[in-house]
Symmetry: C2
Subunit: 234 residues, 2 copies
């Protein structure tokens, strides 16, 4: 009955079983969505029974949260090679490729539930967004040291636009994100913003801002140094 074996004779335990369950949760999320995920479906896909699930987790929500915290695939940190465009292109392509795996479907399903599950949103930020944002910024710092990009953008949200737009295209058009879309995002949006183009001064005519709380954020977000996670300030 197991989905991924033809007639396994061995009986898995411990970490091997755990990884199979995590993998099954991601696939179930991708296939059936958050609301459609069932414990029986996870058990069947993992080739196990419900008892091992309920022995480890008390509920579906706990299982999913734990999967986010410990069962998501990891990706290697980007490194600076001397050409920041090549590095970013590689990073965006890797990201787009990852979204074609169950990881992408799971992300889609999880994002639709974040307003009902703040703990899940926090976990996504802790596990996915902020670590990858930190790695990306470390790489861009090297690029900045070589004069390839403006240093002041590194601590701004501008850095995150590339992955954000790839993710957005994934969400609204589904995988795979075409390679030419990735290249366009990089060359038409990301590189111009990172390289030379400063921020636009609001038109000289009239009041510069009609906002209440513009402060420094509207002009130079995150200049305070922290508060610049991958997708949101922390």
């Amino acid at each position: 009955m197991a989905a991924d074996d033809g007639g396994r004779r061995t009986r898995r335990r411990g970490d091997e079983l755990l990884q199979a369950i995590y993998s099954a949760v991601l696939s179930e999320l991708a296939d059936t969505g958050y609301g459609g995920l069932t414990m029986e479906g996870v058990a069947a896909r993992a080739g196990t029974g419900k008892a091992p699930l309920y022995r480890r987790w008390n509920s579906k929500d706990e299982l999913i949260l734990d999967t986010v915290q410990h069962g998501l695939p990891t990706s290697p940190a980007p490194t600076y090679s001397g050409n920041v465009r090549d590095d970013l292109l590689h990073l965006l392509r890797r990201f787009a490729a990852a979204l074609t795996t169950p990881f992408g479907g799971a992300m889609r399903a999880l994002l639709s539930e974040t307003h009902r599950r703040p703990d899940l949103l926090a976990a996504l930020h802790d596990i996915v967004f902020q670590p990858r944002g930190r790695e990306l910024r470390a790489m861009l710092r090297d690029a900045s040291d070589h004069g390839e990009i403006r240093p002041e953008v590194i601590d701004s949200h501008l850095v995150d636009i590339g992955p954000e737009m790839v993710m957005f295209r994934f969400l609204t058009e589904g995988p795979p994100v075409p390679d030419q879309t990735i290249v366009s995002i990089l060359d038409d949006v990301v590189m111009p913003l990172l390289r030379r183009c400063g921020k636009a001064e609001p038109e000289g005519s009239g009041g510069r801002f009609d906002d209440r709380q513009q402060g420094s954020a509207a002009r130079d977000p995150c200049q305070d140094g922290d508060g610049c996670g991958f997708l949101r300030g922390e």
Copy 2:
């Protein structure tokens, strides 16, 4: 039992009832998600029974698709006032405000299902993305005629970045999108890209593109004139 009346004595018919059902569907989508939406929940929230639902639609999927096609709230088309930044700021704020209503929650729920429901994705594009993209472009054409922005960006995806980023922030942080985020998106990303900053030429060193299919798309997307819907080419 009805959610929105205290003890209605009247009995609604025709369009009044239809609108109540559409509204209930949107609220249910926002509250319970796509998988969590039930016909009984819709009926209860609309203050009606299941029979009027099944009299009009054969299934849950049909009801939801029809709601997308006929029950979504409309927004006034943006007009050019002489200052494109003010107009875009107003547009983005209006969009962000709309996302705090059940419309936003419904969009979140629907987007998580688009890979399973291509018809739904197509409906979203036909009803939401493309019409609004057309209106936005019409407004920007006026701005271009006044020399406020570069004319060549109007038929590119750059135009859509503003709404896209607001939507992305909504999806990953939940409503409401802070006003300073909107202002930052506008002044740090959208206006610089629309105004003066050309696209980046890939570094002179080495091969310009290591892509297979760069063609014209990587350098000047959508210069062919069509294929530039709000969120995707058509």
